[in-house]
Amino acid sequence: MIWKTIKVGFHRLGSAPSFYRFSTVVSPWLWAGFALCSVIGVYYALYVVPPDYQQSDSFRILYVHVPSAWQAMAGYVVMSILAAIALIWRIRLTEIMAMMCAPIGAAFTAICLATGSIWGRPMWGTWWEWDARLTSMLVLLFIYLGIMGLYAAFDDKRKGARVACILVLVGLVNIPIIHFSVEWWTTLHQGKTIRIFGESSMHYSMMPPLIWMTIGVKLMFGAALLDRARNELLTQDRRKGWVRKILSNKGD
């Protein structure tokens, strides 16, 4: 009974006009949540949290670097799940959602690489080294760009999405490599600080901004994904009746 309700709900949401309405309503709330979390997070990160014993204030870069890195990887996992559903069930909306994850994930990967580089210059003494962690993260950026390029190269968007979804699943292998790179090989990048299982090696007084920023970035990913998917849906369905109705309904 509950299962059936969920199933029907998903099928409803899967129809283009209802997804359009859903995303129009939900996305502003996610943006607002992101704004709130990031204002609190940045305030704590720059004003409240004490400097690090070794790295002084430069460690504050962590609060944008780490949430972005996590989201770059989590975004890829989300994209892979959507891609697998898209390939197996051929649901158009999941194809679109999977494809729209790529530019957002690429943006977070770029933030991660840029801020990491800026952090590395004063602390490690170098902008860039080809160690396993840094290299695998750069590979992630290229995979994201490859997915975007492949999708853009097709005129038939549904076919393009299916081909790119295969690339998504091929690239998935890079995610555990990034995660475990600091354990499997000797790297310049330090090991894991935050552990879900077991103790984190970060003082509790330094944790709140990390939590705020991480939640904020997750909300932002959702908001940007809904915005982009909605636009893609409009573009693909430009000749369809429901888009005309929206056009004639309001002057926006």
Binding site: P51, S56, D57, S58, I61, V64, F108, L234, R238, L247
Partner: protein, 56 residues
């Protein structure tokens, strides 16, 4: 007001990059949507014969 940080240039430029990329994630869909809507309305006007040609 503005905290005095060591390595200030590095910290501020990192937060700056984050802000710029986030702003782009907000703006890109808005700008794209605006362009698309204008295009679609023009198309619709052309088809329905209500097109008001700016350069007759």
């Amino acid at each position: 007001m503005i905290p005095e940080l060591e390595y200030a240039v590095y910290v501020w430029s990192s937060y700056g990059i984050f802000a710029v990329v986030v702003a782009w994630q907000i703006l890109q869909p808005v700008l794209y949507r605006r362009r698309l809507m204008a295009e679609l309305r023009e198309e619709q006007a052309l088809q329905s014969g209500e097109y008001d040609d700016p350069n007759p």
